[in-house]
């Protein structure tokens, strides 16, 4: 599978003698349906010379049930997650919404001073966020990757507004966007601004089936915005949103590629 990628030499310029252990959290549906994007996440971290472990007893974070009103039922999943990942210095995942679930919605299951949950909560990162905030752009070198395409960034809501991967258009605060900052390290990439830069795609977990008409309309509009802006590749930090839009694109034979941001950063060729 990885033959399609450029061989990349992303180098960590400064480690400063800290040996960090990373626990890789691959969301359940990505494990089953998107092994390539998952592997790209792993390889990115491996190229940075981290000691990475992938605990194979990990399971779902509980988000689908919690967003459907059944948060009370997922206590065991939350405890399992914390037990599985508490030993790592950092927990990294290729999904903004699953990270949000752990960070924002697990608190009801643990005491305020629970050492293990507080550690997990503060050490879990979405992959772009990890590269941006922990490694930092100045220490990353993507100069030998080529991705000479017009790319549109789909800012998935949970990553965008809950994890603050980017400045939401609603707020009057200085602009920054971690996805754009990291992607723009690729020398020949063309990042294309969209008409509505942070409109929801309508996936929304079970929303995509309980409100399928609106969900479909929102997804189509999001895709059309990319097409109207002459984007060739849509990317983002949440595979679930991309899965929803890829499903619509395939059904309607639209000309738009969809890639998880980790795939582009690892040097995926179209």
């Amino acid at each position: 599978m990885l033959q399609q990628y450029h061989i990349t030499f992303i180098q960590l310029i400064t480690i400063k003698g800290v040996h960090m252990k990373i626990g890789l959290f691959i969301p359940c549906f990505m494990n089953e349906l998107y092994p390539e994007a998952s592997m790209a996440t792993y390889k990115l971290l491996e190229n940075l010379n981290f000691d990475i472990e992938y605990p194979t007893n990990q399971t779902c974070c509980g988000q689908p049930m919690a967003n459907s009103g059944c948060a009370k039922d997922i206590k065991s999943l939350a405890e399992h997650f914390v037990n599985t990942f508490k030993k790592y210095d950092y927990i990294v995942a290729p999904s903004g919404s699953c990270v949000t679930m752990v960070k924002e919605h697990y608190s009801e299951f643990f005491d305020d001073d629970d050492v293990h949950y507080n550690k997990v909560k503060t050490s879990i990162y979405e992959i772009t966020e990890f590269l941006h905030d922990i490694i930092k752009p100045e220490n990353l070198d993507f100069s030998n990757i080529s991705f000479a395409h017009k790319v549109g960034v789909h800012n998935s809501c949970h990553g965008h507004r809950a994890l603050h991967l980017g400045t939401p258009t609603e707020l009057n605060i200085p602009y920054s966007n971690k996805l754009e900052n990291i992607l723009s390290l690729i020398p020949d990439i063309q990042l294309i601004p969209l008409n509505r830069s942070d409109e929801c795609c309508g996936f929304g977990g079970t929303f995509c089936v309980t409100e399928d008409a609106i969900s479909t309309a929102m997804g189509r509009d999001r895709i059309q915005d990319h097409i109207d802006s002459n984007v060739e590749v849509m990317t983002g930090a949440d595979m679930s949103c991309l899965m929803h839009m890829q499903g619509l694109i395939n059904r309607e034979n639209k000309k738009l590629h969809v890639l998880h941001i980790a795939q582009i950063l690892l040097g995926k060729e179209l």
């Binding site: 691959i26 990505m30 494990n31 089953e32 349906l33 998107y34 092994p35 390539e36 998952s38 592997m39 194979t56 399971t59 779902c60 689908p64 049930m65 967003n67 459907s68 009103g69 059944c70 948060a71 009370k72 039922d73 997922i74 999943l77 399992h80 919605h105 809501c157 949970h158 507004r161 939401p168 258009t169 609603e170 707020l171 009057n172 605060i173 509505r196 942070d198 409109e199 929801c200 309508g202 929304g204 977990g205 929303f207 995509c208 089936v209 409100e211 399928d212 008409a213 609106i214 969900s215 479909t216 309309a217 929102m218 509009d221 929803h244 890829q246 499903g247 619509l248 395939n250 059904r251």
Partner: protein, 464 residues
Amino acid sequence: MATHPINAAKYVANDERMHWHDKALWFVREKRDTAAHGLPEWEQLREYASTIKTHTMNKLDFYLEEFEKNALAKGIKVHWAKDALEHNQIVHSILEAKNVKKLVKSKSMLTEECHLNPYLEDRGIEVIDTDLGERIVQLRNEPPSHIVLPAIHLKKMDVSDTFHEHLGTEKGNDDPTYLTRAARASLRKDFLTADAGLTGVNFAISETGGVVVCTNEGNADMGASVPKLHIASMGMEKIIPRLKDLSVFTRLLARSATGQAITSYTSHFHQPIEGGEMHIVIVDNKRAEFLANEKYQKALNCIRCGACMNTCPIYRRSGGHSYEHVIPGPIGSTIAAFKEPEKHNSLPFACTLCGSCTNVCPAKIDLDSQLYNHRQDLAQNGHLSKSKMGSMKIMTYVFNRPKLLDFAGFMARKVVPKLPKSMIYNKFNVWGKTRDLPEFPEHSFKELFAKMEKEKKQEKNNEQ
């Protein structure tokens, strides 16, 4: 009853109209952005508004009493209504005492909430809504579809047809200026012949005992000044402590609502007009229950600007009427689900938890968190369908057993790609109605990872 998805599907079916509605409201949202981004202190103002409101709600009894005392001192009569019916009875008794036959009313979501119009009409009093948008929907016998833009669901030709039928305008003439002039001429007559005027209240100032009403059409001023009797109806959360607090809210309100720096009219009513009477009706109607509930209390911070509607991607594409609640959109959904959870159980789910509403809210109401909490409460209190709860239980069972999950995934990857399309895309596959399923890969990541680890180990062994 899952009513929102059904209504939304109908709305979406008219693709052209749905997109027109979406674009009209997005235009308002963008105007709001331009106005908000024009003030460097915008986020600070939102913080002030939230702090003032939260402070006021925590001392509401004190501020209400102070307000009453100061209003009485100005010769204003103050009434207290515990619910919608009591509000309507009080308004009716005031009107009846003055033998009022015709009432002109400016925009008031509270009177919509209380269903005042039909109550008074049943008792022989003619009620004329004087806000242009409200007048249009009143003539059409429809509820407003938006709290600031009541007729935003209508196109100019719809208005033309309505005015032709009710006001005798030319058939087919949909020139906005022509239609507005016709409405104005008709309303002018109503203002001059009305026996009383009723207004809503945007802000009630505890320190002064007066109320402030913000409009763009000046209709509240006409209604409160021409007839000798003025009634102002307000929810008890409209209180702010001091006059100087008002500037925080007036700066936020119009910018959030329509992108204007300020509404055309910001009218202060501090006493009855000469030879007239002024009454203020303060309404609870379950607001005290909100106040007592930590999870939802902040909903009382709402200043009814409608920004959460304009930004909501679901509201924009399903229209206000799809919510079947007097206040639609994110704030309407949390209010509705709090007051009548069983009836409005689909509203907290008419949301992707995108969080845009929380970010635009000038009073920083945690709207998306409230809707998430409502989902939990609905499930806990048995207000969700058995099939939904059942499927969630099954999912939780599987997810609690990683080995079983691996096996289920393995089977799906083996079996699904071999199935004929007709079998995959059946009526039970809602996802597949409009979307293709993802291509099932041969191996899961877990399988690939295990293989990779094995190879690495072998390589190491070979080296040794």
